[in-house]
């Protein structure tokens, strides 16, 4: 069966925004607008459909093959719609050492979907991703590009529960060390943490006098 449908161009009526994006780059760099245009569409539609790829190709004066080639290179452009809550679970080393594998398993269990899937309602989708740069506050769960850090089992359960009610709690800002606030980290070595490591387990003794 042949299905015919007309697609309203995404950027129809958004000419100003389109110009703003194109003008971020010099004229010889028109093609640089490719990634921002993909973002623009995806932010609004939770994916970039084939029709949109064609539209972007036309805007930039390139072939649609090139749009697809670039888009498919990156992990966070989606050809099929993601859920209203898109969960990215960091699975790389520091998060893994803070339990991200268990967090992922928990989410799979709870939501009934696995990496790359979206649930039937379109509420949740889940993606295993690589290091999100939150290693000091691991494990991290990014929900719609907002970081939820040091997500313990209870915090995770709480988040899932909230999202089921279509609520997204304000992200708490976990910090540590020098980022903890105006009073900068002071050495703890002086207080004598020691003993629970494999070898060489002593502070420098610096700053003691």
């Amino acid at each position: 069966m042949i299905e015919l449908q007309t697609v309203t161009p995404f950027f129809e009526g958004k000419e100003e925004r389109l110009d703003e994006i194109l003008n971020r780059y010099p004229p010889e760099g028109r093609r640089s607008a490719l990634m921002p245009l993909l973002w623009e569409v995806q932010n609004a539609e939770r994916h970039v459909s084939e029709a949109r790829m064609h539209e972007i190709a036309d805007i930039l004066g390139i072939n649609v093959t090139e749009v697809k080639g670039v888009m498919s290179f990156y992990s966070t452009y989606y050809e099929y719609p993601i859920g209203r809550f898109h969960l990215q679970v960091c699975s790389t080393i520091s998060c893994a050492l803070a339990g991200s594998d268990q967090m992922y398993d928990y989410l799979v269990e709870e939501l009934g979907i696995v990496n790359g899937e979206r649930d039937a309602e379109g509420r949740f989708s889940i993606q295993k991703v690589e290091c999100l740069g939150s290693c000091g506050t691991a494990p991290v769960l990014s929900i719609n590009d907002t970081y939820y850090e040091r997500v313990s089992r209870s915090r995770c359960a709480h988040l899932v529960e909230a999202m089921r009610k279509d609520e997204l709690p304000e992200a708490w800002r976990e910090r540590g060390s020098d980022i903890e606030g105006s009073q900068k980290a002071s050495p703890v070595g002086t207080s004598g943490a020691r003993g629970d490591d494999g070898a060489g387990g002593t502070p420098t003794g610096g700053g003691q006098d």
Binding site: E50, M53, I62, N63, V64, T65, E66, V67, K68, G69, S72, F73
Partner: protein
């Protein structure tokens, strides 16, 4: 620059890549991603070598080795890809030591882990770079025990090209090819890491030069769909010949097997087509083994065409001829007949004493520019300003590609001991093109306009006025000053409809070029008036000329003087006025009016490979060799004489025109000149002092004075019906291609048939609607087309 490869000392030009150093030392390194005429990218890592070089100290003195007192060699810490490393003074390249061997071994192993190794069923088997290199440089064992990557094995990229994704080794040649050569990225990698695969999101592969990727794919991932599963490489007979599809004289391999052409591939000619051909040339051969091919002569007996022997057919013709005045016989041959065939036709005409001889299609204007002003393809590729009128992409694809070479500003590489450099480091991925140097003028949007700084879209049929205005603008810029400006500025957009500012820019850019070239296609040359104006413009700009004739040997036949002795004896007139006709490979009876007149001729002899509409009403039909089956010579648009070699194709008792001349001569009791290639060559040696017997491999541009036919002043007036019937239709140039489009199954499926673009108003005036099948006359030849 002194370089040492293993033990061989060489002196090389600066800028040479290490891989070319190795090859010019007569040595070998394996490689997959590098490819002649394309940018080196260092992706396959197959060509790794151990490389070192001496260093200079602070005072500019070589650091010496304490033991030997020679400059000390500092080895790079890692093995280097030779394809992306430039030679340095004193460089030492080692391709034989243990670490190099180990690396080669591993690269082969890595390349093979995901390769299906289905060589027994692969068309590339026996001609596969991966097969060869694995054999030469691999260890023969694989330690990979996991599932190979599974991907689509029969993906039709287009009707013409099939992709087997599992076989792909990610050399990126095909992707780079589209970006770097035709400049149209219709193919790309999708996804990344080990999931990377080749694909296109376009409908088919909308480009005229897609087939070249099947030549350069080092494995059997990209295959010519017309020849899939047709034969093994070692079974093919490879004939080195030249394209008959257009006037470029591009070098081809005709691969045949058991009397059939299985495929056509590009062959190297560094001065003409490098290693590229267009898709018409590559895929346009399928008609040859169509079932309807004529294999024996036919004679009309009792109103029916019945098979006959050559002797019978020749005797039949000789007998009829004896009853008529030779002057009344017209001879018309197609413009892709060889030089030798032309000589034969001339000999026959001379014997008959007729001035009614012509080749067709033929433009009104000459396609032979004086040698001193004629641009070679190398001139074009190194030009700094180019003006193109018409659609070169369709008429002579290679001209399009050589123009794109010029836009990159990288001159063709000098050949090395081992041939074309494998890694020309001047070429880069995504090299900028200087589009300002190119102006393209045409009555409709042609593909090359995408690359043109100035695109002049003018009203159809207004070429002459356009060129006159261009010339005026040129003169205005030369004289300078306000007066000139004002005059150019005043010029109201005349009939051609191009803004005068665009005209001025185009004229100025051409003028500024020190190596300017003007390229004229059929759009201009079809009209004497337009051609004269165009030549005047080119002369005023000091530009060289490239004139594109309608067919492979238009230049050669014009030079040989296969021309009527009077304008009123030209091909279209001859169809009306001659009492008898010998027609080779032309099909004028597609026009019903003409067909009627042809039926009234005293005799109609048709030499063709198929029972065309004209053949069907002929008295005698002589089976003809197709363009792939003839030996001889063609002259391309540069005036380059190129050797054509016949492929062993089953064609029954077909003869080319020299054969026809021989048979008829025998029947007429006359040993005619041009009765064979050798006899034609004798004529050429004697009359024009040119020797075609020993043409160099890549042909030769000969300084030949064109033969002007004896003028006949007593020709009859031209019949009213022959006069031009006007009408502003735009004929897309695929229609200027040889016939048989409808018999080339794959090409037809991919491209569709020829189309006729008509302005809606004109269409209405002619009562045409979209999708109508029409016949129309282009340069004296009738074509079928679909109205768009």
């Amino acid at each position: 620059m002194k370089v040492k490869v293993n033990e061989v000392e060489l002196d090389l030009k600066p800028g040479t890549s290490a891989i070319d150093a190795v090859f010019s030392a007569g040595d070998d390194v394996p490689y997959f991603c590098s490819q002649e005429y394309m940018s080196p990218i260092g992706a396959c890592r197959m060509c790794l070598a151990r490389i070192g070089a001496p260093r200079k100290d602070k005072d500019g003195q070589w650091v010496l080795d304490e033991e030997t007192g020679e400059p000390k060699i500092f080895w790079f810490p890692n093995l280097m890809a030779t394809c992306t490393t430039q030679v340095m003074e004193g460089m030492v390249i080692d391709t034989r030591s243990e670490p190099v061997k180990r690396a080669q071994n591993s690269m082969v192993e890595y390349t093979l882990i995901n390769h299906p190794l289905d060589c027994p069923v692969c068309d590339k088997g026996g001609a596969c770079e991966l097969q060869d290199r694995s054999y030469e440089y691999g260890s023969g064992i694989s330690r990979f025990e996991f599932d190979k990557r599974h991907q689509e094995k029969h993906h039709a990229l287009s009707e013409l090209i099939t992709l087997d994704r599992e076989r792909c080794i990610h050399c990126k040649r095909c992707v780079r090819y589209f970006e770097e050569v035709p400049g149209d990225e219709v193919l790309d990698f999708i996804d990344r890491a080990n999931h990377t695969y080749i694909s296109s999101e376009e409908t088919g592969l909308p480009n005229n030069f897609t087939g070249n990727i099947t030549d350069i794919c080092p494995v059997g991932a990209l295959l010519d769909a017309t020849s899939r599963f047709r034969g093994r490489n070692w079974e093919y007979h490879h004939t080195p010949s030249v394209t008959m599809d257009d006037a470029t004289g591009s070098a081809v391999w005709i691969d045949s097997r058991t009397g059939r052409i299985e495929r056509i591939k590009a062959r190297l000619n560094p001065e003409v087509n490098k290693t590229w051909i267009d898709d018409g040339t590559r895929f346009g051969h399928e008609y040859v083994d169509d079932e309807s091919r004529l294999l024996t002569p036919l004679i009309r007996r009792g109103g029916e065409l019945v098979p006959a022997s050559w002797d019978e057919a020749a005797a039949f013709v000789a007998e009829r001829l004896s009853g008529m005045s030779g002057k009344d016989v017209g001879i018309a041959i197609r413009a892709d007949s060889t030089v030798e065939e032309g000589i034969g036709a001339l000999a026959l005409a001379e014997h008959l004493g007729t001035g009614q001889i012509d080749h067709a299609p033929r433009h009104e204007a000459s396609v032979v520019a004086p040698l001193a002003r004629r641009a070679t393809l190398t001139d074009l590729a190194t030009a700094d300003a180019i003006f193109v009128a018409g659609d070169v992409t369709e008429e002579a694809g290679i001209v399009d590609l050589r123009i794109k070479d010029a836009l990159k500003g990288v001159a063709p590489p000098e050949l090395m001991a081992h041939g074309v450099p494998i890694a020309d480091l001047r070429l880069k991925e995504r090299q900028p093109r200087d589009e300002r140097m190119l102006t393209v003028a045409a009555p409709y949007r042609v593909d090359l306009m995408r690359y043109a700084g100035v695109a002049l879209r003018h009203a159809p049929g207004q070429e002459a006025s356009l060129f006159r205005d261009l010339e005026a603008a040129l003169k205005a810029t030369t004289t300078g000053g306000d007066a000139g400006e004002a005059r150019a500025g005043e010029t109201e957009p005349s009939g051609h409809g191009v803004a005068s500012s665009d005209i001025r820019t185009a004229a100025e850019r051409l003028k500024q070029g020190e190596r300017a070239v003007v390229v004229l296609t059929g759009a201009v040359l079809a009209s004497k008036d337009a051609a004269t104006a165009a030549l005047a413009f080119a002369t005023a700009a000091g530009a060289k000329l490239m004139l594109i004739g309608p067919m492979a040997n238009s230049h050669g036949l014009e030079v040989m003087g296969v021309l009527p002795s009077h304008a009123n004896y030209a091909y279209p007139a001859m169809l009306e006025t001659a009492k008898a006709l010998v027609i080779s490979h032309l099909d004028p009876a597609q026009d019903p009016d003409i067909a009627e007149r042809l039926k009234q001729k005293d005799m109609l002899v048709v030499h063709d490979s198929f029972l065309t509409e004209t053949a069907a009403i002929a008295d005698v039909v002589l089976p003809a060799k197709t363009v792939y089956e003839r030996d001889g010579t063609v002259v391309n648009l540069e005036g380059r004489f190129l050797k054509v070699i016949a492929a062993p194709v089953e064609g029954g008792t077909s003869e080319d025109l020299t054969g026809v001349v021989k048979r008829l001569g025998d029947a007429l009791g006359q040993r005619l000149e041009g009765r064979s290639v050798r006899s034609a060559h004798r004529v050429l040696r004697q009359r024009m002092s040119i020797d075609l017997a020993d043409l160099p491999e890549w042909g030769e541009i000969l300084d030949v004075k064109p033969v002007t036919p004896r003028r006949d002043t007593s020709a009859p007036a031209m019949a009213e019906t022959v006069k031009r019937r006007g009408g502003n239709v735009v004929v897309t140039a695929s229609m200027v291609r040889p016939e048989y489009a409808y018999l080339n199954r794959h090409l037809l499926a991919e491209r569709g048939g020829p189309t006729l673009r008509v302005n809606p108003a004109d269409a209405q005036a002619h009562g045409l609607t979209h999708g109508d099948d029409v016949r129309l006359r282009v340069n004296g030849m009738w074509r079928r087309a679909t109205v768009k």
